[in-house]
Every structure is written in structure tokens, then in C-alpha cells.
Symmetry: none
Subunit: 199 residues, 4 copies
Amino acid sequence: MPSDVAREPVAPRPHTGRRRNPAVREAVLKSAADLLAGPDGLTVSMDAIAQAAGVSKHTIYRWWPSKGAVLLEALVERAQQETSIPRTGTLATDVESFLVATFDAVERVAPLFRGLMAEALRDSKAAEGMREFVAARRQGLRALLTHGVEQGELPPETDLELMMDQIYGLMWYHLLITHTPLTEELAVHLARTLIRSAA
Amino acid sequence: MPSDVAREPVAPRPHTGRRRNPAVREAVLKSAADLLAGPDGLTVSMDAIAQAAGVSKHTIYRWWPSKGAVLLEALVERAQQETSIPRTGTLATDVESFLVATFDAVERVAPLFRGLMAEALRDSKAAEGMREFVAARRQGLRALLTHGVEQGELPPETDLELMMDQIYGLMWYHLLITHTPLTEELAVHLARTLIRSAA
Amino acid sequence: MPSDVAREPVAPRPHTGRRRNPAVREAVLKSAADLLAGPDGLTVSMDAIAQAAGVSKHTIYRWWPSKGAVLLEALVERAQQETSIPRTGTLATDVESFLVATFDAVERVAPLFRGLMAEALRDSKAAEGMREFVAARRQGLRALLTHGVEQGELPPETDLELMMDQIYGLMWYHLLITHTPLTEELAVHLARTLIRSAA
Amino acid sequence: MPSDVAREPVAPRPHTGRRRNPAVREAVLKSAADLLAGPDGLTVSMDAIAQAAGVSKHTIYRWWPSKGAVLLEALVERAQQETSIPRTGTLATDVESFLVATFDAVERVAPLFRGLMAEALRDSKAAEGMREFVAARRQGLRALLTHGVEQGELPPETDLELMMDQIYGLMWYHLLITHTPLTEELAVHLARTLIRSAA
DNA sequence: AGCTAATCGAGACGGTACGTCCAGTCTTCTA
DNA sequence: TAGAAGACTGGACGTACCGTCTCGATTAGCT
């Protein structure tokens, strides 16, 4: 009724029409992640995602600008099982458990990482999104290390960025190139080696 | 002499028919590399390669099983400007110059690496080929480090594989994710940090 | 009325989604017919049809199973300018005008007939379709002749199928082999000869 | 020596070098005919013919200008089992046995006719060759009928060309369109009908 | 016996078409 | 207005075939 609208000019139109169905978002992201994890994971098509989600392709494109964006969001969603930074006491144990948790989480969504990278290499938007995601993750580790420097557990001249490059570099290297699993042993070994030699 | 023939019955006829035109191979690899290095490098099509090389698609598929195989060989060819391992004296300087040379060579064909990775993520054959290429490259560095252990410049318990993972991991990380250049400074810095902390 | 629906449970949902664009069908058939009629009519490619129609090849293959099917339908469409059977009075004049009309119509789309035959000889589906088309056309003449027998203008023992074989055989023979035009004179001459000798 | 050439301009060079291997011709024509008669008869490739004949494609193209030419010659060769025109006495019986013999011979090489027509529709050279072949065959029947006119067995005003069009037209019609066999019954029936009504 | 010239098998090659597949956009109808 | 169904363009995919070409081996006649 127009008269009603006239009477409430402050919130002119809180919403008109059918609301966005939150189930759509979930279904799409779940299907994307599942398909990516399945066989033929690196060549998931939008048609396949739409079909698996019981959603029309048009609807997907209404909410995400491209396939890369869908995959990125699917990855972010899955990786949300938060790698809560521990702060148990010493830097050595903190970094160690951070890496163990990270490797474990990443390993569980490894196909998503690979699928997203495949997309990011063709679609610069997806690449940008992935960079942001990676940078955000890096921030957690950086906080940990910076704290270590402040506590005197690491010398002040330590190049934290280089250290992080080595950590995340190794991780992606296993993920994308050698395809070897990111085990707990590897995490522990890497953490100890880095901290010991830096200290 | 019939007796000779009887002695060598294995190779009755080494080759018949028109020989493979070496210009084709060169033209295809050159076109592939050039297109990969150009804009839209991540989405090079076989049609484009064929057209640029002045070669029919059929001919390409006669010699290479897939697009990935062409790109891989193009990369290998370009990377052939051999990073000759120096052995100038101390391990520290040797590793340093190895990394400087490697980073420089890789940086110059960075788009090829990215394009090939894009292919490897969809085509498992290409992925396998790339793993082989990477493993071969790793061998050079491994020889250098093993020599260092033998000379007592590195303690015998040093985990060389982990060290190489950190080096090549960082390299690919910059190449694929951050897209930051692989500078000489970075190479030197990385080499010194690793050797110092291991020694 | 729900009761009506209950009585007709076969069509639960008449149609969903975007409708087939009728312009596509027309454009494809028109382009196919035009290309077939042009020079190089015997070697029309799907790419050429798609390009000429401003339609993607994919869309053509969505609606027609093969090239032969497209050409067949193009021919049927063009031949639709109906050779209405006259029934002016005597059998002699009726058959005469039928043949004149048929030859005239066929002559105008002769290249389509040839192009379709070229396809039918490679594609058994197209051959089957063409046989159906030919059989349908034959029905018109059969009705005319049967009527003539009933009216006593032809003896009851006349082999109508043989007569039609001679008529259509001659037509195709000119069309495919001698490439001589199907003139009005030929039609008249053939009609008179056949009717006179049968009567 | 140029002077030698100048001295003998009439028979410059009778022959030098290796002679043409007659087995090649036979093998090619046999393979072509056999493949055409087999399944997938309408889509015989030159590669297939060459392979079946144990002959290189190059050799085929040395002696025949195109695929159509090969098929044409294969047909001519196979149809050489000569339909010797009988002249047993009356026109009626002569034409009858001519048609029976012709239909029988044609039926046995029907796939060749169809394969050649497929080629003739794309290759105007092949079409021309086929027209010549058809015209030559027609000459036999024409001689028979002309003789009948001279003997008074047919009225002088009979249109022999039209009669032949009807005969050969029907034959091709069955061959190419209806794909029904050219039986002896059909030959007899056609011959009697035509002669009776013309006389 | 050696030279010369043609034949031939094997197969590489360019060009062109095939029929399939996917990303992203647009259209129609239902809720 | 959200959403499902699905038509549509554009462009790449890998395969097939035609007719041409190149290579080396073979063979026949002439010197």
C-alpha cells in the first residue's frame, strides 16, 4: 500500500519482494566444496554445482560474480573452523601447535585449495580474493611471532616475513606440487627447526 | 653380408617414411612459450598455438598427447639456459649463487610457470610431468648441499629435504600467490639465513 | 478445477524456463537452405550454417541431432509451398498439372535435394528422414491415381506403384545424374505418355 | 646433352626407370570396392583404401586424381562383367533379358553405386565421370530399342529417351532412395509394361 | 657393372570440419 | 522480487579425413 510507505519515510523500503533464501548460499557452497573434494575435483563446472545444489545457475551468478568467487567463498567457509591461536606459554610450543592446527585444517580442505588455485590462475579477481584470504591467515601467525620478539624469545632483527614465507611456501609447495600430505610430523619438524635456528 | 643380418635381427628397419620436421617442434614450443608469456598467458588455446606456429593442430597432437605436455616441454626448453652449479669454494657462496641464478632464470619465465601450473591443475598428466621437472631441478641443489655435509660445512643431521622444501616452497609461493618478484636480494637473504642457522 | 487436474495427471508441469526462440529455428533453416542453394552447396558445414544464422553451433546441436537432420528440415520447409492437388476433372489433366507443379517446385530447390542426398549417403539417419519425406510426397500422387482407378479412368489392374516409381525415378535421375532441368514440357510429356499407355 | 635432345625430337624418351606395378592398380580397386561393399560403406577414406591395399596413399594419388576417380574406376571395373546384349529374337524378350541382366549386375555392386554417388555430389570431376559411365551403359539399351523401331516392333514416334529415363530412373531411385532390391520380378514387370504400352 | 630415372611404402604435414563441453548471460514462468 | 528451469553465444576441445609432401628403398633399362 503506497499510503503506508508515505507514512514511514525514514525506512522507505526495508525490503520488497521475496527475501534472499539463505539456504541457497549454503547449498551452493556445500556443493562446490563437495564436488571439489570428489573425483575430477579440479574440473568442476558451474552447471555441476548448480545441479548438485538444486539451484539455478542464474541464482548463483546473482550472488557471486564468477566461478572463482564461489570457490573462494567455499574455501573460506570450510576453513572457518578456526585455527584459534593458542598462546599456551613459550613461543616454541605456540608456533608448533599453530602449525599443527593449520596443516591439519588445510589438509582437510586441500582439494578446495587446489581448485581455487586453478581458478585463480585464470581469473585475476579470484587471484586477488585468494591473496586477501592468504594475507588474513598470515596475520595470525604474524601476531604470534611479533609477540615472541617482544618477549625476547626471538632476536629483534629476525625477518618474520621471510620466516612466514618459508612456512606458507612449504605448505603450498606440498599442496600444489608434490601433493604429499601435510602431516603433524612435518609441522612439528618445521616449527622446531625455524624457531631453534632463529633464536 | 647375410650373416651380419642374422646376427642383428632386432632392428630390421630403423625408419621409413618422411622424417619428423624439427622445425615443427621448435615452432610449436616457441609459439607456446611466447603465448604463455604474453597477455592472456594463462588461457592459451591449442588453436592459438597451432596458428601462431603455422602448424596444424593435428600435427601437434601427433607429437604431444595433450596441451599440458606442450606447455611443459615449452617450459623445460626455455628453462634449459642451464643454471650451472658453481662450486666456487665454500658452501655459503655456492648456495647463494645457485639461488641467485635460479631465481633469475625462473623470474624470466615466470609466466610459463604459472601457465603450466594452470594446466597441471586440470590435467594430471601435466601435473606428473611438472613434478618430474621439479624433481630434476631439485637434484642440482641436493648435490650441492650433500657436498656441504661431506665437507663438514653442515652438520650431518641437517634435514636437507626440509631445507629444499623451504627454498622451493618460497619460490613457488612468490610465483603463484603473492606475485612478488624473485629478486637477487631475496635469494641472497634466503641463502644466508638458511645456511647460517643450519651451520 | 482440481478435479480436472486429477483426471489429467500426465502433464504435471507444462513448461518451465526460457522458451525456445523460434527465430533460431527459422534462421538456421534459412541459412542452411541458402547455403545449400549457393555455390559449394554440396559441402555446407555446420560452422558455416551457424555463422550465417548468427547462432552458436551448440544451439543447433541442441535441436537437431546431426547435420543431415538440419538439411532435411530445411528442405522440407522450403518444399512446403504446397503442391495442392488440383482435381479439375479428368485424370489426365489432373496428373499433368500435378507433375507440372511438382517439377516446378522441385526444380526451384534442386540444390537442396542434391545437398540432402549427399548427406543422406553418409548419414543413415538423414537417409531415413529423406525416405519418409519422399514417401509423404508420394502419397499425394497415389491419392490422385487411386481416384482415377475408382472413376474407371485407369484399369483396375494398373500397377500404380510402378507408375510412381517411373515418375519419381525420372525426376531424381535428372536431378542427381544428368543434371538436366525438370521442364514443364518434360512433365507434360511424361504424364501423357504414362496415362495414355495405361488407359 | 642438349644436342641429343635436338637430334631426336620425335621420340624423346620411350621409357626409363621402373615400370608401373600392375598389382597396385588391382589391389587399390579391389580394396576400394570391397570396403565400399562392407559396413560403413558410404564413408570409405583414402587412408582405409591405402591400408587395405597395402599401398601408400601417395601411390594412389600418382595414378588417380581424386577419391572419386578411384571409386569410379572401381565401379567400372566391377561392372565390366558385361551385360552382353542378347538379340534373341523379339524386342520384348530382348529388352526383358537386358533389364534382368542389368538389374542383376547393378544389384551386385549397389554399394559401389551409392559410394560413387556420394563422391560425385561433392566432386564435379567424379560427377562427370559417372555421367559418362551412365551414358555408355545407356548406349546398349538404345541400340536395342532403335533396332526394335527399325523392325517395326515399336512405332516410329516412340520417345526412346523418355523410355530409357524411366528405366534408369527407376533403377537409381531404388538404389539411392528406397534402397529396395532390384529383383528379377521388377525387371520383367517393368520391361513388359513399357513395351506393351509403347507398341 | 654402373648409372639414371621412375615406382613404391611409410608416414609427416596443413587445412578444414566434426560433434562436445563449459562460462556467463538472458528469458520465462512460479511462488 | 527471488528463484528454478533452461535457452543461448562464444570459443576451445580433441578427432578425422583429404590431398600434398618428403624420405629411403627398390627396380628396370641404358650406357
